[in-house]
């Protein structure tokens, strides 16, 4: 059944269809609709889950950790400051190898207070060990929820799906709503062998000496590396049931492109419109959307970008004192290919619009820039 719904509700429907068993969350703009609708669904029986209304995001993640440790499917949603408050427990979920799914609505971090989108909240969680999947549309957002649970549960790793504040969270689009009966064909019930169970008692997470810790971290990395194949396989399985899939990355008109713009989130849609326009003008330009940021699909990205002459990365984020965060990753994906200049552009922080004009400005700057000495170019800053 198709419905016109906001991105936040797309998450809720995805959670409903995935039959999450324990939900715990704390309100924060612009995430709140996700859990409001889930509360309603819990209340009216649309979903058989316990909703723990905690007093903070830190506790939301902690509650999910407890629930997931008990062997149940656990979900939370947050944004910005909330995600940052969770930080400690994000690490905990990874170290504990718990398949929790979190929806983060990308919102800028204060101060000053800003409720509008940018990616610095999620990308500053880059190194905690969560899978990160950036969604572009409400449909993709909904569909990514059951995919996320399946990936998480297969690898015993937590998965974060990310959507832009307002441009997606509050924007209404037509979504083909998935139902649990269909999803069950794709996502089996979660029943892990190891869980908190008095019949098979274990102590989880106690003190490990230097002789043991590294191996446990090695296994997390191994799960991340396996993750790329698992994501692809899960995406294929999803496609078999629902006829839709999203991949790790999404190249657009890249085959013969001399210059490729690299984007993520809703900027990718706008970028595609600019690509079409510039292609019409005879420019050999393409775009690459990065959907899966962790694990980072180096090989797939290299396969696309290594055929280009120049790469421009649009970052809705900034790693202060360094570069845009996607930019760094793309640079390292192209390591050794000094013949392909990579240019970094910072745009759209704090919810500033990244319009077709902005993208065209970036593209034209990249084309004209013969010898890029600056790896970081701020677009639209009032200087």
């Amino acid at each position: 059944m198709k419905k016109v719904i906001m991105g936040n509700h797309a998450v809720s429907y995805g959670v409903r269809a995935s039959e999450a068993q324990v939900i715990s969350a704390y309100p924060i703009t612009p995430q709140t609709h996700i859990v409001e609708l889930l509360s309603e669904m819990c209340g009216n029986g649309e979903i058989n889950a316990k909703f723990i209304k905690v007093e903070s995001e830190h506790s939301a993640m902690a509650a999910c950790i407890g629930a997931s440790a008990a062997g149940t499917r656990a979900f939370t949603a947050t944004s910005s400051q909330g995600l940052l408050l969770m930080h400690e427990m994000l690490h905990w979920a990874v170290g504990a190898r718990l398949p929790i799914v979190l929806a983060n609505v990308n919102r800028a971090v204060g101060p000053p207070w800003s409720i509008w989108t940018d990616q610095n909240d999620s990308l500053s969680q880059r190194d905690v060990g969560w899978f990160q999947i950036y969604c572009e549309s409400n449909q993709e957002t909904q569909d990514t929820v059951p995919q996320a649970f399946k990936i998480a549960e297969q690898l015993q790793m937590p998965v974060m799906l990310v959507l832009d504040a307002f441009f997606l969270s509050h924007t209404y689009e037509i979504v083909d709503i998935i139902e649990k009966e269909q999803v069950r064909k794709f996502l089996p019930p979660y029943n892990p062998e190891i869980k908190i169970d008095t019949k098979d008692p274990h102590s989880f997470g106690n003190l490990a000496g230097p002789d043991m810790y590294m191996e446990l971290r090695y296994m997390i990395q191994e799960a991340m590396e396996k993750g790329l194949d698992v994501i692809k396989k899960v995406d294929d399985e999803f496609r078999e049931v629902f006829g839709r899939g999203y991949g790790l990355i999404e190249p657009y008109r890249c085959d013969d492109a001399e210059i490729i713009l690299v984007t993520s989130g809703t900027v990718a849609s706008t970028t595609r419109a600019v690509i079409d326009a510039m292609r019409g003008e005879g420019v050999a330009i393409g775009a690459l959307k990065i959907r899966v940021f962790r694990p980072f699909p180096f090989e797939e990205i290299f396969a696309v970008l290594s055929k280009a002459k120049k790469v421009a990365v649009i970052d809705r984020n900034i790693s202060f004192g360094c570069h845009g965060i996607f930019f760094q990753e793309i640079k390292s994906a192209l390591y050794g290919r000094t013949d392909i200049p990579v240019l970094g552009y910072i745009a759209g922080l704090g919810g500033r619009d990244v319009t077709p004009g902005v993208i065209r400005e970036i593209a034209e700057n990249a084309i004209s820039n013969k010898n890029p000495e600056r790896y970081i170019n701020w677009i639209g800053v009032k200087r």
Binding site: Q21, I52, E55, S56, A63, I65, A70, W92, A208, G209
Partner: protein, 300 residues
């Protein structure tokens, strides 16, 4: 041999990493005996994060979830919710935290869970300072005590936080204090707590010989003197904070006997100890007055 005075099944085994004479370890053993094998534990950062043993070994033959410092209560909430969703309504979830993890950093999530009245037993083993990190003051540290962050030149001037009143303000079904010197009383309270649905809070006085500069063999004696000197009243609060029962059936002992055995109070003069005693006596009288007052309200 006479019948055993407590259950003989040992869910906590030897070889653990507790210091000599550790009250927290005695308390754990008693609690597990009271609850039996249908129990899952949540342990945040505290001495017990270490006492349990080193990966992949545990001294406790029960499921334990070790978690971050401030999350004992809420992980217990999540765990209980998860167990119930799995159809397991039999397992008792017990959060087991030190005073730092309860009075200080864990207070927020404990308050949240208690307000929601999530169904678990929360035990705070109270050794009155951050012992695992090397004896720093917590809000549970009593007035006059030395710790590494309240040196004798600047010992703690502030009274111990009244955690019991804070918990009582949450209207949870059961609150009690206990002492390792009275294991049968503690076990009874744990078992009683387990008969209520909702959040149950038990605070057990658990001496730390290492942190109190105390001969380990005096561990239990101090736990007893804390009670008989009225420093640490044993009480129960039921009826969602409306009924208070204070244990009074003991021979009172002078506070000096309690304080002078412990190095953490060695710097205090007799006059200072007398001042503390006066304050303790006043608090005790207020507690008894409160007990009478609550008992006098009709309809309870």
């Amino acid at each position: 041999m006479k019948p055993a005075t407590m259950p003989t099944e040992e869910l906590m085994g030897s070889g653990h990493l507790a210091c000599q004479g550790c009250g927290a370890t005695q308390a754990m053993r008693f609690a597990l005996k009271a609850l039996g094998p249908d129990t899952a534990l949540v342990i945040p950062a505290c001495c017990w994060a270490v006492i349990d043993g080193s990966f992949p070994h545990s001294c406790i033959d029960l499921p334990i979830y070790h978690t971050a410092f401030e999350t004992a209560a809420v992980v217990a909430s999540g765990l209980k919710a998860g167990l119930e969703m799995r159809g397991d309504t039999k397992t008792t979830v017990m959060a087991w935290a030190g005073d730092g993890g309860t009075f200080d950093i864990g207070l927020q999530s404990l308050s949240g869970a208690a307000e929601r009245n999530d169904d678990f037993i929360y035990v705070c083993y109270d050794n009155e300072a951050y012992m695992n990190t090397g004896i720093q003051r917590s809000s549970s540290t009593p007035v006059g005590a030395w710790t590494t962050t309240t040196p004798v030149t600047n010992y703690k001037r502030e009274p111990k936080k009244n955690m019991i009143d804070i918990m009582a303000a949450h209207s949870i079904p059961y609150i009690a204090t206990a002492s390792t010197a009275y294991p049968h009383d503690f076990m009874r309270k744990i078992a009683k707590a387990n008969t209520f649905r909702g959040t149950k809070y038990i605070q057990i006085f658990a001496p730390c010989p290492t942190g109190w500069k105390l001969a380990p063999e005096l561990s239990v004696k101090m736990a007893r003197l804390a009670v008989t000197s009225k420093m640490y009243p044993l009480l129960e609060i039921t009826d969602h904070g409306q009924k208070l029962e204070v244990w009074k059936d003991f021979e009172p002992t002078p506070i000096a006997e309690y304080m002078k055995a412990q190095g953490r109070f060695r710097h205090l003069s007799d006059a200072e100890i007398a001042g503390i005693e006066k304050d303790v006596e006043a608090k005790w009288e207020r507690l008894l007055a409160k007990e009478r007052m609550l008992a006098s309200i009709p309809g309870l």
